[in-house]
């Protein structure tokens, strides 16, 4: 009996101790991001400078951005939000906003103005796709190809439809294991005008048409699910061309010096940025807002481009993009938003995919599973 009492007492003590430490939050901040080179660019461009200005603040990283929506929903149901600031893609942010899990932000109120005095809301402009989402970067999903595997006597690919042209460009392709982007490219290369893609994709016939186009290369496709897959497959010579995020291709080409080249045609723009979880305590919220004001100002967003080839989301940051921090090369030509690269682009259609993702995904997965 005595033993049980001791056990119970010690359990109670542990619980109480955990409760006390969880409340002392104002100097701590948990930031959720993607890990890898991207998180490193955030660390260098604004987290480290911020910590220099505020030496008693400590930042903990959680590399959970890929499952951020599911985890935030679970935390919300459990009534215990342990994250202060979360880096997510725009589609996830819209989802979180819809579910009431992210806080609505008044841009002009809480964010810094551009150096010329333009309000934050105008400076971010069209990139504000949700009331809860503060964009940091524009990235694109595009193709890279092995320049040494282009058949002799053939021009290197400059058109996205080279993906579907197995005769001119034989070899395997890597595509992401989800319908997004693939369906658009398939319809575009099947002769659908760019501004009609989503009207066609809305219909059953249009979805079948896109899958039929993908069918023509299905046996030559390696399907990837992690952003690192395509760079690795390209480096190993497993595939001739593959889609992935442009920053990953930049590091394969410039940092690892592989014989890989970019294909900028019909790149799909997407956004990545911050959301603040709903239900933070007042002192935690104050800290997050203070950090956000600093981390999303014009200079900081421009600084981030020194470490990774993603375009800053503020219009005022673009002219300030300089050179890569280690390689010393000009970063502007590697930005997806650079005019030379952005001749023919597509913007991720958030509303369409919010509605149709479940439906088209079911068809796509069923199509994939059949041999």
């Amino acid at each position: 009996m005595k033993l049980t009492k001791t056990l119970l007492a010690s359990t109670a003590l542990t619980v109480a101790a955990a409760g006390v430490s969880a409340q002392d939050m104002s100097q701590d901040m948990t930031i959720v991001s993607w890990g890898g080179a991207y998180q490193n660019s955030q660390l260098k461009a604004y987290v480290e400078p911020y910590l220099e200005m505020h030496p008693d603040v400590s930042v903990a990283w959680d590399e959970s951005s890929a499952e951020a929506v599911a985890k935030l929903r679970a935390m919300n149901e459990a009534g215990n939000i342990t994250w202060d600031l979360v880096d997510v893609t725009a589609a996830s942010a819209i989802r979180l906003c819809d579910e009431g899990l992210a806080m609505e932000i008044d841009f002009d109120d809480v964010l810094a103005e551009a150096p010329d005095g333009t309000g934050a809301e105008d400076d971010f402009g069209d990139l504000i796709v949700s009331d809860c989402f503060i964009p940091q970067i524009v990235y694109s999903t595009t193709f890279g190809y092995r320049s040494d595997m282009v058949p002799e006597g053939v021009e290197p690919p400059s058109d996205v439809c080279a993906v579907f042209d197995l005769e001119t460009y034989p070899g395997k392709r890597a595509l992401e294991k989800r319908p997004l982007n693939n369906m658009e490219w398939a319809l575009y290369c099947d002769g659908v005008a760019k501004d009609e893609i989503y009207d066609v994709l809305e219909t059953d016939e249009g979805q079948d048409r896109a899958l039929a186009k993908l069918d023509t290369i299905k046996d030559q496709v390696v399907w990837w699910s992690a952003g690192a897959d395509t760079p690795q497959l390209l480096a190993d010579g497993e595939i001739f061309m593959g889609s992935t995020y442009n920053g990953r291709l930049f590091s394969v080409i410039e940092e690892q010096d592989q014989p890989v080249a970019m294909l900028w045609d019909m790149q799909v723009f997407d956004l990545d940025g911050w959301i603040v979880p709903e239900g933070l305590s007042d002192d935690a919220l104050a800290r997050v807002m203070d950090f956000l004001y600093f981390a999303t100002d014009t200079q900081r967003l421009a600084d981030q481009a020194k470490y990774i080839s993603y375009g800053p989301a503020r219009e005022s940051s673009a002219p300030m993009v300089s050179q890569h921090a280690e390689l010393g090369i000009d970063m502007a030509p590697h930005m997806p938003t650079d005019p030379a690269n952005a001749g023919n682009t597509l913007l991720y259609n958030y509303e369409f995919w919010a509605d149709y993702r479940d439906d088209i995904d079911a068809k796509f997965q069923s199509w994939l599973a059949q041999n």
Binding site: T4, D98, G100, D236, A354, D355, R357, S366, L368, A369
Partner: protein, 590 residues
């Protein structure tokens, strides 16, 4: 030696407290029988004079409580961290309160609507939906419901998002006209005077005066705004307006932490005011703001007053509202519990005419369940085939060599799962080690390299390797207890090598195979990361879809239904195994 289930000679003859208890009970029963002759009268008593039975029962209860208290921390821990979350997750596969909670009036109104008629529901439904969605949008619940119903009908997600914003337009029509008549209709205080008690309005006015005075004198003023109270009799004159306004007042107080004295009411309230003025008579009203109300009443009755038809207004927000399928979906999913997720999980769907199979090109889960079962069996059998000789070798070799071999078995076991899986990628891919060697040896042409990864084969190879230790270890611990003398005895009696192995050694090693098979099969049936990395499209499992629904599509109900089915399948297989082989035959150790 430990067994999964007690089968050995565990019931010893030593007396236990239970025995004593039963004996006491038997004794007691004998006592209560009519006694013949002169017995030793009265029940058996304990030393303190209480009947032995009761005193024993008390002692036993105390003992049981002590035992329970001892395991209580573990029990509570397991309940809280294991059983409860699983039960909660499984419960989600049928739970569907969100529709009923978010659209209570609509669900009620839809009950009278025949969803097979092909006609749109009546005005009562649109009216109920107007209130429900308006309120849901204020509380920011409408998009949540939208994403829930989007699982069933594509497009509902944006329909609800749009409607949350668009429903304001309906009331704007009336508000603009009332406002043209009298600016006061667009102000907070006149509304509060119309709806609130005289006392609360007076208290507010006094508060405003005090605040102004404090400002003049540059004093701090921190008194809270007096609480707003609804007037009882206003509901007799303007029943619908009063109801909507009281919802508004509650919302402003609880959610905005503001006061109805200072916030203009929702456009919903204005629409309700129009309806009350249209249908009712306010001529007898003489409370506060009677003039204003009567003027508005006159305006409503005048022929140029513009009105908005609810159904048309819904159609203007999005024409999908005029599609019966939206209303069918809401009605179909209005019960608090649904079998919809389970139907989805077996490639079926709910329709107004009952459950039906999905279109051919949307079926996937049946295929994945079958594939998961089939591949898990293949993996289990390849593990048996590979592990048996290794375990045999381990158990027969001298200790020193066996230990070395054991480390070789365990070494990969200690390596990260991801590292092992990625290593298989390097080995198996077309430009990988195995293909390079085969090309170098001239066995395979350079343009005909084997495809061994991103398909079923890749998953089977990688998972067999990863799960092999789970097969070897139980086999080894069973085999190491089989006395070598048995085989020798069989041989000395004239058995061939094969007969002595098959008739004598193998039957004794079966419990190890059983234990290993159950472990490997159950582990592989729920495996997720390896098929995701090396499975391509033909080598993925049902667990990959469950993970997708948990983390990407957020369709937790469907994920829970798939998980429940998977759990049920495992339990059925376990039961079948028990019936056919007998679980007593499973040993995790010698």
């Amino acid at each position: 030696m430990s067994t999964l289930k007690g089968s050995g000679p565990q019931t010893s003859d030593a007396p236990t407290p239970e025995d004593a208890f039963h004996e006491a009970a038997a004794l007691d029963a004998r006592e209560s029988e009519p006694r013949h002759g002169s017995g030793n009268g009265g029940p058996v008593l304990a030393a303190d004079g209480t009947p032995l039975k009761r005193s024993l029962a008390r002692a036993l209860r105390a003992q049981k409580m002590r035992a329970l208290a001892l395991i209580a921390p573990l029990l509570i821990f397991v309940l809280l961290t294991f059983i409860a979350p699983i039960a909660d997750m499984l419960f989600r596969s049928v739970e569907n309160q969100i529709v009923r909670d978010t659209l209570p009036r609509t669900v009620e109104a839809l009950a009278d609507w025949d969803d097979t008629s092909g006609e749109l529901p009546g005005d009562a439904v649109f009216d109920a939906a107007y209130t429900d969605i308006f309120l849901a949008a204020e509380y920011k619940l409408h998009t949540r419901l939208g994403s829930r119903l989007n699982y069933e009908l594509t497009g509902v997600s944006s329909l609800f998002r749009k409607s949350g914003r668009g429903l304001d337009d309906i009331g704007e029509v009336y508000l603009d006209q009332f406002e043209d008549l009298d600016e006061a209709w667009d102000e907070a205080l006149p509304w509060a005077e119309l709806m609130g008690t005289a006392d609360s309005v007076a208290a507010y006015k006094a508060w405003v005066k005090a605040e102004d005075k404090a400002k003049e004198n540059n004093e701090d003023f921190n008194d809270p705004i007096p609480a707003f109270e609804m007037r009882d009799d206003i509901a007799d004159v303007l029943p619908r307006t009063a109801e909507a306004y009281s919802r508004f007042a509650t919302f402003v107080r609880d959610e905005d932490e503001d006061s109805p004295f200072e916030e203009e009411p929702w456009t919903l309230v204005v629409t309700r005011l129009y309806e009350d003025l249209r249908d009712g008579d306010v001529s007898s009203y003489n409370g506060p703001r009677a003039e204003m109300l009567k003027a508005a009443d006159a305006l409503v009755d005048s022929p140029d007053f513009q009105t908005a038809d609810l159904q048309a207004a819904f159609g203007e927000i999005d024409e999908d509202w005029l599609d019966t399928r939206v209303w069918q979906t809401i009605k179909t999913y209005s019960p608090a519990y649904t079998n919809g997720y389970f139907l989805n999980a077996v490639d079926m769907q709910k329709t107004p005419d009952g459950a039906a199979m999905r279109d051919e090109d949307e079926r996937i889960y049946g295929l994945l369940f079958k594939r998961t079962m089939f591949m898990s069996l293949v993996i289990t059998f390849s593990c048996i085939a590979l592990a048996y000789p290794v375990a045999y070798l381990l158990s027969t070799l001298p200790m020193r060599t066996a230990n070395l071999l054991m480390i070789l078995v365990l070494l990969p076991f200690w390596t990260s799962l991801l590292v092992r899986t990625s290593a298989w990628k390097v080995m198996l891919q077309q430009q990988g080690v195995i293909n390079d060697v085969l090309v170098w040896l001239g066995l395979v042409a350079d343009d005909g390299r084997l495809v061994m990864i991103n398909n079923q084969l890749g998953t089977i190879i990688a998972m067999t390797h990863i799960l092999l230790p789970f097969m070897i270890l139980p086999m080894y611990s069973v085999m190491s207890t089989i006395p070598p003398t048995y085989v020798r005895a069989a041989k000395s009696l004239g058995a061939t090598n094969w007969t002595s192995f098959w008739r004598v050694y193998f039957p004794q090693s079966v419990p190890g195979i059983g234990a290993g098979s159950i472990l490997v099969f159950i582990l592989s049936i729920g495996y997720y990361i390896t098929p995701e990395i090396v499975g391509g499209t033909t080598g993925t499992f049902i667990s990959n879809r469950i993970a997708y629904h948990i983390s990407s599509s957020l369709n937790w109900g469907l994920a829970a239904a798939l998980g429940t089915i998977l759990l049920a399948v495992v339990l059925i297989l376990y039961w079948a195994y028990d019936r056919i082989v007998g679980i007593d035959n499973v040993k995790l150790g010698g």
